[in-house]
Subunit: 269 residues, 2 copies
DNA sequence: CAGTGGTCTAGACCACCAA
DNA sequence: TGGTGGTCTAGACCACTGC
């Protein structure tokens, strides 16, 4: 199983990462459950188990990998903590999805001011309006963010989200052209749920993690027109890079949030 | 130990929360390790183990609470995940502290733009300037945030943080008067490390968790003067409520962040 | 070397869910 | 009723730290 002395059953689950004896002086001990975690991750990104589906039971996986239930349990625990898997007692363990009713718009942290934490969530964007969706060549900046070369084809989308009739979010987003071949304004318009749910079902791209950089800015002429505000209204600029498995960046998104009746909520631990 | 059938050793650790048989129809089953977690939490807030100190070993605690090592392990695991405890292999488990060199300014999410994630952290605020520190009566708003009554005595502090000579953060903060009796501008000025570290050592108040509401705003006259910017410079308004153990609010803080060379960094999972 | 946290196993039993 | 995740135990051994 690894270079360490196998505890009981000889080795098992061939093809398992072994401790590298090369270069680095650190032996880099890797516990069994981490290796199992890696194997499960592989099955996830290979599409063996699809979003929303149940993965095999802990006992099945234990048999498959030839380890004890406790070991696959710990692997699954960590994946569940990362929101890659979802445990449901009595039912099974499921591949997490952005289509899930409970955790829809998981990455949207804008909340109405009259919303005092606790309970599920409230404000699912009432109206969405796709302004633009076109193929362009990646600027140096977009290319860098998405791990492409400048000039590569990317999809550029601009849209406005409104809450109770009030334009509140203006978003520009860039997607790598290859994985999202066939995405059109119509597809976006017709889609009901979250955009990331569409990405899962239509393009097999699952957003797993994201990083945001937030600043305060003033809108330019076009932006202020689209949000129907004056050019002196300060806005939250939220720049997000979203990643799939293996930390591969798959989306760059620049949001402008109107925060006179909403706020960006964050919890610190 | 609880109302469930005790697995091995009869009951143990008297005084343990028992499954409430009253009112609510739900039996509210509480696993052993959760109860242990509660007991450890009690010892933490009672000051039996102080910030920076080591708590008893897992085996000691297991003996003390009359449970197996695995059970206290799971309890400690969760507390460590919440940043209340810090595990160090081979050395012991320690009460987390804001004075820790590694995790100083844990709650400060403002980063210099030329800082591409990864590695510890960089920008510890270069210069800090306490502008004001006075006793006032709590406004309705402050009282509500801190769980006090309007008119109760609170400490109000205003300060400016600068990075490489540039005023960047203007903070107003309010602290409940009672727990922070004796806090003065001098104490704040003389303190070298993070403010939350001072709160721990001088007042026995440990900040455990915080919530922030972020908006984009324009500064008023006084604010723009202190930050040495024009009144049309958009700023990040960061309103934080920090909590000690048991979700007791102990600080309301309003920060104005200049984000022309910095950004607020957030990671989404 | 002893002590601490970290991993792994094997087995028992419980809580929850669906058929 | 059987299957799934969830809890708990007991014991063995490993990795890291400091004396």
């Amino acid at each position: 199983m690894s270079s360490q002395t196998p505890p009981s059953a000889g080795d098992a689950a061939d093809g398992m990462t072994t401790t590298p004896a090369a270069s680095a002086p650190a032996p880099a001990f890797s516990p069994l459950y981490q290796q199992i975690k890696g194997l499960i991750l592989q099955s996830l990104q290979s599409g063996e188990w699809k979003p929303g589906e149940a993965i095999p039971s802990e006992l099945d996986l234990a048999a498959r990998y030839r380890v004890s239930q406790g070991t696959v349990r710990k692997a699954i625990d960590e994946l569940a903590a990362d929101n890659l898997l979802l445990r449901r007692q009595g039912k099974g363990t499921f591949v997490a999805t952005h289509a899930e009713q409970q955790v829809q718009y998981r990455f949207l942290r804008l909340m109405p001011d009259d919303f005092d934490a606790g309970e599920p969530r409230q404000a699912t964007p009432a109206e969405r309006h796709v302004i633009d969706c076109k193929r362009v060549r990646a600027s140096a900046e977009v290319a860098r963010a998405l791990g492409l070369r400048a000039g590569d084809g990317v999809l550029q989308v601009r849209r406005v989200l409104s809450f109770s009739g009030r334009p509140t979010i203006l978003e520009d987003l860039w997607l790598p052209g290859a994985p999202f071949k066939g995405l059109t304004a119509e597809r976006l318009r017709d889609n009901l749920g979250p955009m990331y749910a569409l990405f899962e079902t239509e393009f097999g791209v699952r957003m797993v993690r994201a990083e945001e950089k937030i600043r305060a800015v003033l809108p330019d002429a076009a932006q202020s027109a689209l949000l129907k505000i004056s050019r002196s209204t300060p806005l939250l600029s939220v720049e997000r890079i979203a990643y799939t498995y293996n930390d591969v960046p798959m989306e760059l998104r620049r949001g402008l949030y109107l925060t006179d009746m909403h706020h960006y909520r964050n919890v610190l631990n």
